[in-house]
Subunit: 459 residues, 2 copies
Amino acid sequence: MFTFQTYVRRRDELRHLLQGGIVLLPGNRESAANYTSNAYHFRQDSTFLYYFGLNLPDLAGVIDLDSGEDVLYGDDFTVDDIIWMGPQPTIAELGSWAGVKKTAPSAALQGVVQTALTQGRKIHVLPPYRGETELLLQSLLGRKPEVSVELIRAVVSMRDKKSPEEIAQIEEACETGYRMHTAAMRMCRPGVVEREIAGAIEGIAMQYGWGVSFLSIVSQHGETLHNHCYDGVLEPGRLLLVDAGAEAVSNYCSDNTRTMPVSGRFNRQQREVYDIVLAAHDRAFEVARPGIPYRDVHLEAARVIIEGLKSLGLVKGSTDEAVAAGAHALFLPHGLGHLMGLDVHDMENLGEQYVGYDAEIVRSTELATKACRMGRRLETGMVVTVEPGIYFIPAYIDKWRKEGICKDFIAFDRLAAYESFGGIRLEDDLLVTSDGSRMLGDRRIPITPEEVEEYMQRD
Amino acid sequence: MFTFQTYVRRRDELRHLLQGGIVLLPGNRESAANYTSNAYHFRQDSTFLYYFGLNLPDLAGVIDLDSGEDVLYGDDFTVDDIIWMGPQPTIAELGSWAGVKKTAPSAALQGVVQTALTQGRKIHVLPPYRGETELLLQSLLGRKPEVSVELIRAVVSMRDKKSPEEIAQIEEACETGYRMHTAAMRMCRPGVVEREIAGAIEGIAMQYGWGVSFLSIVSQHGETLHNHCYDGVLEPGRLLLVDAGAEAVSNYCSDNTRTMPVSGRFNRQQREVYDIVLAAHDRAFEVARPGIPYRDVHLEAARVIIEGLKSLGLVKGSTDEAVAAGAHALFLPHGLGHLMGLDVHDMENLGEQYVGYDAEIVRSTELATKACRMGRRLETGMVVTVEPGIYFIPAYIDKWRKEGICKDFIAFDRLAAYESFGGIRLEDDLLVTSDGSRMLGDRRIPITPEEVEEYMQRD
């Protein structure tokens, strides 16, 4: 597991990647749900966790790039706090866990920032994503924070490849994901309300770790990509899509999707589409390796989908031309996947142009690849999700038909038979190894149609 | 259930309670956990819900006190949104659900506020409790928001008494609370990790409603009043305290506490203390009625606790004098309870001096009652929690001993035998009726020692 040396080493490495000034990393505060003291389950900022490893609110870290000194800011508990919160480590103790020798009260942070400003030193901050952090930075800096692209690039270059210890944490989250998804498969049957399954799997995520890595999608409307409405009652003949993941107590994430027949057996139409999505999923694992742009892996999956849909008569013409034109985007309007780590969309707050793209590969505006969150070349140690899907989205099909998008490739007249189909997505987590890839998770969540049907029989 | 007429009537009533100007009620936005698009489970602002009933993010309501017009601000979805979020109601439709005839895009809000400011009209706002709301108000008003005490008083005077429809929602949350607490009793046994129970009951809250009404306390350290650490492994001979509640889908809350013996049977020492807490709990239900200050109900419970602790030899001297001196506060360092409704601590964000106290009864500085969140007179329709407890908090006992607090009443030398006792709290939800009180919830969570021990045998 991670020790204080892990954090010392990471901060030293960061120091070597940057020119000068100070790095100001505020941890998260409690986040109020409906009044100040009724907070959501505390989630630490992932970058603060990565460099300091402390999973408590109201801390801040300063990494001095010139003096080499790191300081942890926070306040010790009082006896009154102890009545409410129990005995707590002191800030000095927290500092020692993080390998930080110097600690100071939160109130001292203002002076340090002001001094650095007066001296004209660069203050490196990351983009805030919570109102509380934005207000804190405004108050410390006396103005709207200016984000440090240099810091973003340095952080991405470190966090984007995972160490063996990090992989072990992700695999722990995957194990909880296995429990969640197999529980959903056992519960899925006509008459059950989506909410009952969503609640059960969220409970499992919290039983074995921090909780869910994102709000679960549990929906018969798989064609609605981010559906957080759980009111549907499961109906025979339909498909249930479950996209859910866990965070380990360390906050490393998992993310998987399975799609299952409410009746317990796929009908022929469902099975045909399912087989195509599964083939695209498997193809991505075959081709992923260090050096290949993830955008190309996306296109490989798109090709499998186009070939498959051609066999069903829903797409026509040359596969190469259809993929180049982006015909698959009608059915797969999102990218193949994203980096995953301490965030389920890893480092998404730092900006996609730095995380999923780079100087060589920028986000495209072409239909075939414009939806990709991640396009750049894979490197050993990266963890990405592989999540192809085929959806039949009535409003989107209407739009394409009306606007004549890809009309030479799409057999619009044949799509009527799929109007209430919904959607299928299959997702697993991929580690880029030195010579290829491997799927993360000790136990594989049932995925072949036979495995899924068999598993759904269990109680 | 609530209809659009409910909201029209409430807004009209509010208008009659205020002098003039506009009421600006921003609904909540999504709240980011670890990056902007990874939000916590959406929780609407309770006051916005009360007056507009719309449980979606990024809305705002304006109640014009002079013209009598209400306007709902928000933005319609685009086709791209529909791909991700599914078909959504238009703002005009949402307006009709809320009984609001006029709707406008969010961008129009700035102009309305600026016009009102220019005209010197009063803009009534409530205290923000999220950074995002504070930033929005700053941006709309061009300055830090000034809270309207007039609006706070008017809102409290309406929300503090519950209608039959509201009571029905609270009872629904109580039914989920029953499922949660009885699940905990069935799971509680040596070797189980607190987290496994916490996760299971959070899952149940989400299966049957919105989720938990606050972060559950599931702890063998009952003496730590707000303990959100779930790492403990249950040990024979100890007590497990479970303080947990649910929110119905409508966001009305429940809040109950039970304390159970990990071994399945209370030992003699535990049973003696348990019986005192239960007697204090029952006494509160006996004396609660319209017109009695809740502070006096607190003191009634304190008296039962002092009498009981005297019988155990832990307190000595006159009961009247011990209660007056606040000797019970060593064992019960919190108040007897709080209002409950759309927030589990109802309207806590509006300020305790307006919610739990009033012009007649202000928060005391005396040890006997200073911890009470709620002191004012009960009125028919109010819902309060009743949650007496007895805790043995080593750090707090040390403090009292050293400082000689209540040294004539506390038998400090006898407390050593309770050093690792932990704490017991028992909590139910009370509706003030026209002539007394009744406990909310159709099914009562096992509470007598016999009931608890019997229930813990079940699988």
